[in-house]
């Protein structure tokens, strides 16, 4: 697609995912060779200086994360690929694995060398069972070619819990426990799987690594937005002409995602809102469309980049309806460990349903916002913190959708004091 810049998807459509030879013919595993010839510290510095930031949603400097794990000595270390792609509307990791599994495996092997890790896991979303075959095949081929160099790499399937995309819940699940997040610190690079230093990187992050090693930090850091360089993979869904995936430099605007790459809204309708980052993303009104999608620009505008899912809603969509469905999703996916999320998510749904039915008051609207604010700052993990975000941003940007549905009464009505 014109305007795209393909780093992560460099081999998409160019290689047979079942043939390592195809991948190698396009320069695959050269970066691994180069990396293994480097000093570990130099390799980590290179990755750090590329300013590559985690593509899973938290946006932490990847090289810095590796550095923490690399600093620990005389201990077993693990490399885990987070392929538990559970954000509704997101399928970027699936595209990478499906079309080019070796880019991910090469990224993991480079990471393993950098931190001196001995064992790796690819934690694959339960619904992606068919990709397990692709990955296992690719791992076997890499092993046959002597590329693993003693590194033990295993594919583990998730069991369908959204929260296991959170890295510590993922680790708990890998350990065979309930998928529930741990409190932090300690962070996984210090104390992760089985209590050992562990790097958990997203598929897209890892697929970037070979190219960074190959072309250098300087080349990479010059692409896109300076504080969040490189490209970002997006998956476009909803009321948009082209429901597709594409990879663009990180300084692309939201408007371009929808109108340039997505070719606008069908039926000549007007845009109402965009939600970026899956269900946990903020609701974005028309007037913020010129925000760049990079992590910091989004944050500054009170938005989140998240996983890179882009949901477009046209003017006919009922905000309250969409929000209620989203909050019901969080109620369903809350793990139940911490109070604010476990008890808060069903309350948000209850209040939303009350308002939708026309039984709500201003008091309910206020309560919902207060609860949302408190959940955002008091939950144990990102799930509970993000769960109220769509609601709060929808109330902020589309207040009429809510105001129109509630009566004026308050809890202390009738009292002159």
């Amino acid at each position: 697609m014109p305007g795209e810049m393909r780093i992560v998807l460099r081999n998409q459509g160019q290689v047979d995912p079942f043939k390592i030879e195809d991948y190698m013919a396009r320069g695959g595993y050269q970066a691994l060779k180069k990396a293994r010839a480097m000093k570990r510290n130099d390799l980590i510095s290179e990755v750090r200086e590329s300013k590559l930031r985690g593509r899973g949603g938290a946006g932490f400097n990847c090289g810095q994360k590796w550095f923490f794990a690399a600093s620990a000595e005389n201990t077993e270390k693990y490399v885990v690929c987070n392929a538990d792609e559970g954000e509704p509307g997101t399928y970027k990791d699936r595209i990478i694995i499906q079309h080019d599994p070796h880019s991910l495996i090469e990224g993991m092997l480079i990471c393993a060398y950098a931190i001196n890790g001995s064992k790796g896991y690819i934690y694959l979303r339960g619904e992606y069972s068919y990709l397990g075959q692709v990955l296992n095949h690719a791992i076997a081929q890499a092993s046959d070619h002597g590329l693993l160099d003693g590194f033990d790499l295993t594919v583990r399937r998730g069991a369908g819990a959204y929260v296991c995309g959170e890295e510590t819940a993922l680790i708990e699940s890998l350990e065979g426990k309930r998928g529930e997040p741990r409190y932090k610190p300690p962070f996984p690079p210090v104390q992760g799987l089985w209590g050992k230093p562990t790097i958990v990187n997203n598929v897209e992050t890892l697929a970037n690594i070979p190219v960074i090693v190959e072309k250098g930090a300087q080349w990479f850091s010059a692409i896109g937005a300076p504080n969040y360089p490189g490209t970002k993979l997006f998956t476009l869904t909803g009321d948009v002409n082209r429901k597709t995936f594409f990879e663009v430099p990180s300084n692309t605007t939201i408007r371009d995602l929808v109108f340039k790459y997505g070719e606008g809204i069908p039926g000549g309708k007007r845009l109402k809102a965009v939600q970026i980052g899956g269900n946990s993303g903020a609701f974005i009104p028309e007037n913020l469309l010129d925000t760049q999608v990079d992590f910091d620009s989004m944050n500054k505008a009170g938005l989140t980049l998240g996983s890179g899912a882009v949901l477009v809603m046209d003017e006919t969509r009922d905000i309250l309806d969409v929000i209620t469905r989203i909050e019901a999703f969080f109620e369903h996916e809350s793990c139940g460990k911490c109070t604010p999320c476990r008890e808060g998510t069903p309350r948000l749904v209850g209040l939303l349903e009350k308002i939708r039915k026309g039984d709500g008051s201003h008091f309910d609207l206020d309560l919902m916002q207060k609860l949302g604010r408190i959940m955002s700052r008091s939950s144990l993990c990102g799930l509970g913190m993000a769960a109220p975000v769509p609601l709060l941003t929808a109330i902020q940007h589309f207040p009429n959708a809510f105001e129109a549905k509630v009566s004026k009464k308050t809890s202390e009505e009738g009292s002159p004091w």
Binding site: T339, R347, K370, S378
Partner: protein
């Protein structure tokens, strides 16, 4: 040392300290619910949230390690508002029947609701209406009251290695359930009741049976006789607002008489008797190299544990009944005869630091007297309630001494209440019986202490005896694994199911920390030190008992009344004669 500021005050604490503990050290009390001083950090209730400068979100004080120049605020409006709403969320599906709750006045959630002046709840009340669990005679569960702190799960799995509890469901449908079954009775539960101490609310408690006692007292035909277990006196003081150990026996006895007990006797007496029987059994089995190690059988939680997890090793258990059941068998036979009372009229109540004793008393094999040997077991906490019910003023209560024949005891009986006590008491007697020499220093310090497993080699004039002491069933498991693999080097093992022994029993005043257990242990040893007689075989009424009734330890009569057998459980307690349905009525 790390320097930080909490609520504007400087504090210096060792590296690795949590904000919660750092704050505590300067008197700033941050509220908690899932936190427990003896357990791992969970950080799931989120009540201890604080503001940390530089962080956009609130941080759980229990799980936040301090760092240099950290600035923490524990009482900002933002923090208070958040904590209060979290409380309201918990309360919105918590049954609003504090007045009827067994933990009324002693509930961590209730306390916080008061502190945070929760007057109304903006959220609609939604109780889950789950079935209460009355399947065991020892404890009951009310899952509706559970706030999912998971302290019970941890104590059961980590301290006791019983794993009777687990989490089920996700999100708002998460519940704590007895694992592998719907009811506690069907789980691996050993009824030790440690989860009662762990529970911050009224979701788990003892089966309260004060009503049964009241019925017995009001029946003029009944003669209500009680036995007081060794660990009760020191702890019951805590129930009436006194310091541990500060209620003298004569005041305790007097208080019990005020409550309606006709005769007040002591389990310490049968503790002395246990030493005679068990000590003889130990010496006999050691000399015959018969099923060694011999393992104690006083702790009913431990017996349940062994029957459940080590059914193949039941032969190692001493055949002696626990002191409670020895007492029960004797009070309706020997004592009744001696007192000229028709045993059918005797209502035998034991006052125990234990909830598993409620199950032990209900065992079908415990009827050697021709009646149910022990009719009712009241825990220390229930006796505390009885005292409050009677509004006793302990500052003006007249002194009263224990009744005779089964009321006197030695220091050896007293120390049954602590882990290591049975061993020490046995050694005091066994040494003299085996060597024929007088034991000058009766305090065996090697077997004392709080270590989960302690061991000692005792030299009995050339014969060396290896003993081990374990408390908590985690320690029991470790010792039993050695026995199972043939690696155990011990002649004798003492096991108590509860941490610290009976002083930390599931029926004791709610116990929050090991510190509290240590204080009770000290009080018990003090009572022993002040005793005139400190060896069981010196108890004159034990001598009388043998002379007049039992003839000798391990005699036929002893076996009939004082010894028992054990049943492999295969994880369930559904034994003939005990019906869980009978326990279904509201607690």
């Amino acid at each position: 040392m790390v320097n930080l500021t909490i609520d504007g005050r400087q504090v210096s604490v060792p590296e690795g300290t949590s904000v919660l503990k750092a704050a505590q050290s300067i008197g700033i009390r941050i509220p908690t619910l899932c936190f427990h001083p003896d357990q791992s950090i969970k950080a799931n209730c989120r009540i201890c949230l604080c503001e940390v400068e530089g962080s956009q979100v609130l941080q759980a004080a229990c799980a936040s390690p301090v760092y240099e120049n950290m600035v923490v605020n524990t009482r900002t409006p933002n923090v208070i508002e958040s904590r209060k709403m979290i409380l309201q969320l918990l309360l919105a599906n918590h049954p609003q029947d504090c007045l009827n709750c067994i933990r009324n006045g002693n509930c961590e959630l209730q306390e916080l609701a008061a502190e945070y002046y929760v007057r109304d709840n903006p959220f609609e009340m939604k109780t889950r209406h789950m079935e209460k669990d009355f399947s065991t005679p020892a404890l009951f569960r009310d899952p509706d009251k559970c706030i999912l702190c998971r302290r019970c799960i941890e104590v059961c799995s980590v301290v006791q290695t019983v794993n009777a509890y687990g989490m089920q469901g996700r999100g708002a449908s998460s519940i704590v359930v007895p694992s592998m079954g719907e009811k506690l009775l069907e789980s691996t539960c050993i009824m030790c009741g440690q989860c009662i101490h762990a529970c911050p609310v009224g979701a788990i408690a003892e089966r309260e049976e004060i009503d049964k006692f009241m019925d017995a007292v009001s029946d003029p035909e009944r003669i209500v006789v009680t036995q007081i277990a060794p660990a009760v006196r020191v702890a019951v003081a805590e129930e009436i607002g006194k310091r541990t150990g500060e209620l003298p026996m004569d005041a305790f006895v007097s208080a019990l008489r005020h409550c309606g007990f006709d005769y007040v006797l002591s389990t310490n007496y049968t503790a002395d008797l246990t030493i005679m029987e068990e000590g003889s059994e130990i010496l006999e089995r050691i000399s015959n190299n018969d099923r060694l190690p011999v393992i104690t059988s006083c702790s009913p939680g431990w017996i349940n544990f062994c029957e459940t997890f080590y059914p193949d090793l039941l032969d190692h258990l001493s055949s002696c009944k626990s002191p409670q059941q020895m007492f029960g068998a004797l009070v309706k036979t020997y004592w009744a005869k001696k007192m000229g009372i028709d045993p059918a009229r005797i209502y035998s109540v034991s006052i125990m630091p234990c909830v598993a004793k409620k199950y032990e008393a209900a065992r079908p094999e415990m009827n050697a007297s021709g009646f149910r040997d022990v009719d009712l077991v009241l825990t220390t906490r229930e006796v505390g309630r009885l005292f409050r019910l009677n509004r006793l003023d302990f500052s003006k209560i007249p002194a009263s001494s224990l009744d005779s024949w089964m009321g006197n005891f030695t220091g050896a009986g007293v120390i049954f209440g602590v882990s290591g006590g049975v061993t020490e008491a046995a050694l005091r007697t066994a040494y003299e019986l085996a060597t024929g020499e007088l034991l000058e220093d009766v305090e065996f310090n090697a077997v004392r202490g709080m270590g989960n497993i302690r061991e000692a080699e005792i030299d009995m004039k050339g014969t060396k005896i290896n003993v081990a002491i374990g408390h908590s069933t985690k320690a029991a498991r470790e010792l039993m694994e050695q026995v199972r693999s043939g690696q155990s080097k011990y002649h004798f093992i003492e096991i108590m199911a509860c941490p610290g022994g009976c002083i930390g029993g599931g029926g004791q005043p709610l116990t929050r920390s090991d510190q509290q257990r240590a204080e009770r242990i000290q009080a018990v040893y003090l009572e022993d030190r002040e005793a005139k007689l400190r060896k069981s075989h010196e108890n004159p009424h034990i001598k009388t008992l043998y002379d007049e009734f039992l003839i000798a330890p391990l005699s036929e009569k002893s076996h009939e009344l004082l010894h028992t057998h054990y049943t492999p459980r295969n994880n369930q307690y559904a034994v003939p004669g005990y019906s869980p349905q009978a326990c279904q009525k509201k607690n």
